[in-house]
């Protein structure tokens, strides 16, 4: 089986989908000849032509608005937003239009769009090349939100996202774009939306993580293990609708919950995960849930490694959780 990193796996997923279905088109800034600033669309322009791999003017609002229109017609547009930080000019089209189209038209106009965007810090991007804005999309009814952590999942979740009838926001953790390598089957396969993966089993504490921070959670879990604390690490993969069953089943076993994400803590996805668990597994919890997250500040440049919820901050949370 070929070895690929996440960039290659997503590229392969896009190619697979485009070969399979002529309704699939890609649009975004610099996605064409140059193949994207992270090279995720490399080679697709040459294979599919500029009717289907479309460099657009510099307007996220225009890109997403047009993609919604294409979807209404019946295409399956895949939008690349160059960095998730630049998605906000399109937010009105996403919140007020894309997410509500099927509902507001009584099912006459489903609007199937996949919006891909690299997210997260750790690449020295400062405020504007590091945001991890999933909460602002999970809160919007009608959207599905995905964030893979491995090359295999990235391709499989992407193909599932393209096949899914609903609009999907597909966040790609750019810090591990090249570091997350592994076996990736050629040809089509899917990783089902809505299913999390237990990537490390343990009985003392449940850790929920996704994207680049999964690796930090795993690193912390390995270190905790040396101190006798066995953490169960769950890679959420689909952020919404989240795999509530897997989460609850694990927390009911461990009685302890640690949630990790890069985004600012306040009103972040961690708050939802904590709430879901306390609402549904209150009497199983033996300790207060802990959120290890980015801070409530803009994402800083020089101090980014102190901002991110890396292993050194997750480990104490794991050790602390089991003390109760």
């Amino acid at each position: 089986m070929p070895q690929m990193n996440m960039v290659q796996a997503i590229n392969d997923g896009l190619r697979t989908a485009m070969r399979d279905d002529s309704r699939v088109v890609i649009l975004g800034e610099d996605v064409g000849r140059v193949g994207g600033v992270f090279r995720v669309t490399a080679g697709l322009f040459d294979e599919f032509g500029d009717d289907r791999v479309i460099d657009t003017p510099l307007s996220e609002n225009g890109i997403v608005g047009s993609a919604v229109g294409m979807a209404l017609y019946g295409l399956v547009p895949i939008v690349e937003i160059q960095f998730a930080d630049f998605i906000w000019p399109a937010y009105d089209q996403i919140v007020n239009e894309l997410s509500k189209y099927r509902y507001r038209s009584g099912g006459e106009y489903p609007a199937k769009v996949v919006i891909r965007a690299p997210v997260g810090g750790g690449i020295r991007g400062g405020h504007y090349h590091s945001q991890h804005p999933e909460a602002a999309f999970i809160h919007v009814p009608g959207l599905k939100v995905v964030c893979p952590s491995s090359a295999y999942d990235a391709k499989g979740l992407l193909l599932a996202s393209i096949a899914d009838p609903d609009p999907v926001i597909f966040f790609e953790p750019k810090r591990v774009y090249r570091a997350a390598k592994g076996d990736v089957p050629s040809g089509p396969y899917t990783v089902a939306l809505g299913s999390a993966a237990i990537v490390r089993s343990g009985r003392h504490v449940t850790v929920l993580a996704y994207g680049a921070m999964l690796y930090e959670a795993l690193d912390a879990a390995a270190k905790a293990s040396l101190q006798g604390v066995e953490a169960e690490v769950i890679d959420l993969r689909t952020l919404w609708p989240v795999d509530i069953q897997t989460i609850l089943e694990s927390v009911k076993r461990t009685g302890r919950l640690v949630v990790v994400h890069e985004a600012p803590r306040t009103c972040g996805f961690g708050a939802e995960l904590v709430s879901l668990v306390v609402e549904r597994a209150f009497y199983h919890l033996e300790a207060p849930p802990v959120r290890v997250t980015g801070f409530d500040t803009p994402f800083p440049y020089t101090l980014e490694m102190e901002y991110l919820p890396l292993s050194h901050r997750i480990l104490p949370a794991l050790l602390e959780a089991v003390k109760h």
Binding site: S22, R23, V25, D51, R52, T56, P57, S59, N61, G62, V64, G65, S66, A67, V68, G69, M70, A71, L72, Y73, G74, L75, P77, P89, D92, Q93, N96, E97, K100, Y101, R102, Y103, R104, S105, G106, G107, E108, Y109, P110, P141, G142, K144, P165, D166, G194, P241, I244
Partner: protein, 377 residues
């Protein structure tokens, strides 16, 4: 700058560079005559009258508290029906919110529309949206949304999608003068220009964006000249001249279909009523402002033309109005006797299939207590 010095919207604009066909002497200028058959003119006229009649009746229903809201088209019927008529079967129109008359003419059934005005169980959008936010894909009609301008980029994308699939589909986006300030106007015009898409940008310049006059909307002398920014042609047309509107939109569609790209059309008309049933225009404009426009009523002009050609008279008019009245009353009766949408419909169509959390929430509502006064505020 004070509002007192802002006068552009007060006066009917001068003749120069504006496409006009129906002359004051009721002859048609051959240069732009769309050559409509008598039956076509009659068809359009009937729909203009019907639109106005319905507008009046819907406003009355709102005043009586029987429907929640209406946004009418008084004075703009020529622009709205003429433009819709010029689009071909198979083309798609992306409405703003003020064009129900065009939807009815394209084939939306009156009953379906009236169900929407009541937001009941037979409303095709299941009472999820406000009145006047119906949809009708079958007749090439989009889904209506309140945020100003958002339909513009979507109309462009729809035409683009068809073009990529090598299908002959043109689109028309309706929007007001206010919407030209929106981000979607800018992006939509720009993308359509760059990719040469067959979209007609149809700006109903009715002088106002709620209380804001066009002078406050832009410093450009006309809305049509905004086309220059996008390398596409911009045309001004007398929006109260049905014939001129039909001809201008037809040409724009032909141009688009030939692969020459989009056209911006500024239809000069006037909002003779309030912005919507929620608005009282007397707060910000004097009724004397309506006078120059009253004499150029789009319906009155076509009626004079028809009468001159002995195609219409008072009896025909009365009969038409009686017909509209009867069918509207019947539709309202049915709609008022239709129950509200079922509770569970609230959770459908959010996604193709309700995920676990919506299944739970549906269950919560179905097994919980009902709101004491569910259909009043």
């Amino acid at each position: 700058m004070t509002l007192a010095t802002l006068k552009r919207s007060d006066a009917v604009p001068p003749n120069e560079t504006i496409v006009r066909v129906l002359r004051d002497d009721l002859t048609l200028d051959p240069e732009n005559d769309p050559k409509l058959g008598n039956d076509e003119v009659l068809h359009l006229y009937r729909h203009m009258v019907m639109t106005r009649q319905l507008d009046e009746r819907l406003v009355a229903l709102q005043r009586q508290g029987r429907i929640g809201f209406h946004v009418g088209s008084l004075g703009e019927e020529g622009a709205i029906l003429g433009s819709a008529y010029a689009m071909r079967k198979g083309d798609f129109l992306f409405p703003c919110y003020r064009e129900f008359g065009a939807a009815l003419m394209r084939g939306l059934e009156l009953q379906v529309f009236v169900h929407n005005m009541f937001g009941n169980a037979k409303d095709t959008v299941l009472g999820r949206q406000m009145p006047d936010h119906y949809t009708c894909r079958r007749v090439g009609w989009g889904s209506i949304s309140s945020p100003v301008g958002t339909q513009i980029t979507q109309a462009v994308g729809f035409a683009w999608g068809a073009k990529i699939q090598k299908k002959d589909v043109a689109t028309l986006a309706y929007f007001g003068d206010g919407a030209t300030s929106s981000s979607d106007f800018h992006s939509g015009m720009n993308f359509a220009g760059v990719f040469k898409l067959p979209t007609v940008f149809f700006c109903r310049n009715n002088g106002w964006a709620i209380s804001v006059p066009v002078e406050r909307q832009t410093a450009s002398r006309t809305f049509a000249e905004k086309a220059a920014a996008y390398g596409i042609p911009g045309v001004r047309v007398d929006g109260n001249d049905l014939f001129a509107v039909v001809a201008t939109v037809q040409k724009a569609v032909e141009r688009g279909v030939r692969g020459e790209g989009p056209t911006l059309i500024e239809a000069i008309t006037y909002r003779m009523g309030g912005h919507s049933t929620s608005d009282d225009p007397n707060r910000y404009r004097g009724s004397e402002m309506l006078e120059p426009w009253a004499s150029r009523d789009p319906i009155g002009r076509v009626r004079a033309y028809l009468e001159k050609h002995d195609l219409w008279d008072g009896t025909a008019e009365e009969r038409l109005i009686a017909e509209v009245d009867a069918s509207f009353k019947a539709a309202v009766k049915v709609a008022e006797h239709t129950p509200p949408p079922p509770l569970e419909s609230m959770f459908e169509d959010v996604y193709a299939r309700p995920p676990w959390h919506l299944q739970e929430q549906r269950q919560e509502v179905l097994s919980g207590p009902r709101a004491p006064n569910p259909h009043g505020s």
